[in-house]
């Protein structure tokens, strides 16, 4: 992963990887292999758990991309989650498409739907944008609830998989989940490291200043919005493929966004590592405490309030600044390598300057 842009004429190099990032990539590959072989060693419950975890993770990553990098706080991402779920179901039940192909196809549909939706939503900014997107999600929920072909308010089942043996179905769903998670992490990582990602980070920190440096803020916002709609739809299609049953209240529930916000805030907003850690924490909490019903939700809400008020950088932000770790370095760090007396101090004492957290992350 290391990418040293050595320029012969000058005496510096741009570092884009850290020791931790190389370890992280190796670790993720091992985890991916373990999950991929899970059908041969894990129980059915574990496979289903992973598919759910993958949906939460991808959905939260996309909310993080939108809010943490794009600066657009949405409470309406469940719109695209639901479109992903219903799109997958309609394509497979009525269109004869294999559900495993229908999941990415539904994500493409959601991305296309997001284009006109963005024209409406972008009329609003900040907090107004947040509630405006919620209204849009409600329009989708009420529309689907009123369409009787789709089972109306009580929903419908995915019947297209009836003839597929259960073991095969569960394995294929797991592999699709793994592929979607890998693609989401990989694509977001590559995107944030690209020119467009740099523009996005600049825009997040100060939209006016970024605009003055030639960043097309409007276009960058639109791209982020479309990418995150696509990802949320992938998460939705995957979730309901694992669930086999869908209803408007479940698919377009604002709870999806609430869980996404919780995951991102606990893990660390505006970091790639944050949602991964947050999703794991949320999944464990959900697994062991959701039986407590209202008390569990009161606890989640209160925890989100406390974290936002007192630990706004989240768990990963804390670890990253305390121990100087970056698993997915998206920034660039200039390191002077010649022995000039003026520059020597900048490298002195630091093993690997990119390992320091102030490289790119929001203060």
């Amino acid at each position: 992963m290391s990418m040293h842009l050595n320029r012969p004429a000058s005496s510096f190099e741009v570092r884009r990887a850290t020791r931790a990032s190389r370890v992280a990539v190796a670790g993720l590959l091992i985890v991916a292999l373990a999950v991929a072989s899970a059908p041969w060693w894990a129980g059915r419950g574990a496979l289903h758990d992973f598919v759910q975890l993958a949906s939460y993770l991808v959905f939260a990553m996309m909310w993080n991309l939108l809010a943490g990098y794009g600066g657009m706080v949405s409470i309406g991402q469940q719109a695209f989650f639901g479109i992903g779920g219903y799109g997958m179901l309609i394509l497979s039940n009525y269109g004869g498409v294999s559900p495993f192909v229908a999941v990415p196809l539904a994500a493409v549909i959601a991305t296309v739907v997001a284009i006109p939706v963005s024209r409406v939503a972008f009329r609003l900014e900040g907090g107004y944008f947040a509630i405006g997107t919620w209204v849009i999600a409600e329009v989708f929920r009420l529309t689907v609830a009123n369409v009787s072909v789709l089972g109306g308010g009580s929903g419908t089942s995915l019947t297209a998989l009836q003839d597929v043996p259960r073991a095969l179905r569960e394995s294929l769903t797991l592999w699709l989940a793994l592929a979607i998670v890998a693609a989401a992490i990989g694509l977001v990582y590559v995107f944030l490291r690209s020119r467009a990602g740099l523009a996005l980070t600049a825009m997040r920190d100060n939209a006016v200043a970024a605009s003055s440096q030639g960043v097309d803020v409007k276009r960058a916002r639109l791209i982020v919005y479309l990418v995150s709609a696509c990802g949320a739809a992938l998460a939705g299609g995957l979730y309901f493929l694992g669930n086999l049953r869908i209803s408007p209240d479940a698919a377009f529930s604002v709870n999806w966004t609430a869980f996404g916000i919780f995951i991102v805030m606990i893990g660390g907003l505006g970091t790639l590592e944050g949602p991964i850690i947050g999703a794991l924490i949320f999944f464990v909490l959900n697994r062991f405490l959701s039986d407590y019903g209202t008390w569990y939700l009161i606890g989640l809400g209160a925890l989100a309030i406390v974290v936002t008020m007192f630990f706004p950088q989240g768990l990963w932000g804390f670890v990253s600044s305390r121990f100087g770790l970056q698993l997915f370095p998206v920034g660039r760090r200039v390191v002077f390598v010649d022995a000039g007396p003026a520059q020597k101090r900048t490298t002195g004492g630091m093993a690997d300057p990119l390992d320091t957290p102030q490289a790119t992350h929001r203060a």
């Binding site: 409470i75 609003l124 907090g127 009420l142 609830a145 009123n146 609430a258 008390w295 939700l297």
Partner: protein, 288 residues
Amino acid sequence: MNTVINIVVQGVLLGALYGLFAMGQSLVFGVMRLTNTAHGDFIVLLVFVLFALTAFAHLPLAVAIVLLLVIAFGAGYAVQYAILNRVSSRDPLPSLIVTFGLSIVIQNVLQQVFSADPRSIATGSFEAKSLTLAGGITLGYLPLVTLAAAVALAFAMQWLFGRTPLGRAFRATSDDREIVQLMGVSYRRTYALAMGIAFVLIAVAAALYSMRTAVSPTDGPALLLYAFEAVIIGGMGSFWGTFVGGMALGIAQQAGFYFDPGWGIWLGHVVFLCVLVARPQGLLPKTA
């Protein structure tokens, strides 16, 4: 023809309630630039406080409502002072997340304490009384009282904002909260007062709403969206705008309900989105 008149009349009466919901939201937007996603849940919370005062403490309704207004002012002041002042900044994210968290906490605490059953406030059949106009159009007394309250409060808020020292402090703090401190105005205290007053408006809305229909602990988000839509349709910065926005939303929903009960709320949302596209500044934006 009668049907159209009836839709408009009932829409205006329903819209008065939405206008009431929205005035508190409008005040909070205007003074604090705060997007309070728990606004609807605060309305529901006060409904349940009123329910507890009348059904558990057995207070007469009038006494309970007066007490509710006092409790509301104190609660609003305290919420703003203790929690929301800490997260108010140019970045909308912290306040959005904190109010969203509050919304989840309030919904679930109410479910835990009062169960998920919808509750309403008994008024001794007042809510069923109505007068019938020529052409068979009926006007309920309660909706008429609601309309009168909405008009009176829009007048009162417009006067408070335009003509009183407190209103001046609100407007100045809204413009620049750093500079007002040089004039001896604490923005923290001003914000807390504004939220206290917003809660009084919410309490009036909550009382009238709970007499009209049964309210369940999870109704808050829907009320938030109606209030928000009324504010945006009406145009930011004027209470009359908010009032008119509520009417427009009420008429749109009534028209939708007339065609099919399933599409009423939907049509309200869609009309809101159309206004947003066609006239993003709202119907009655503040021109001054």
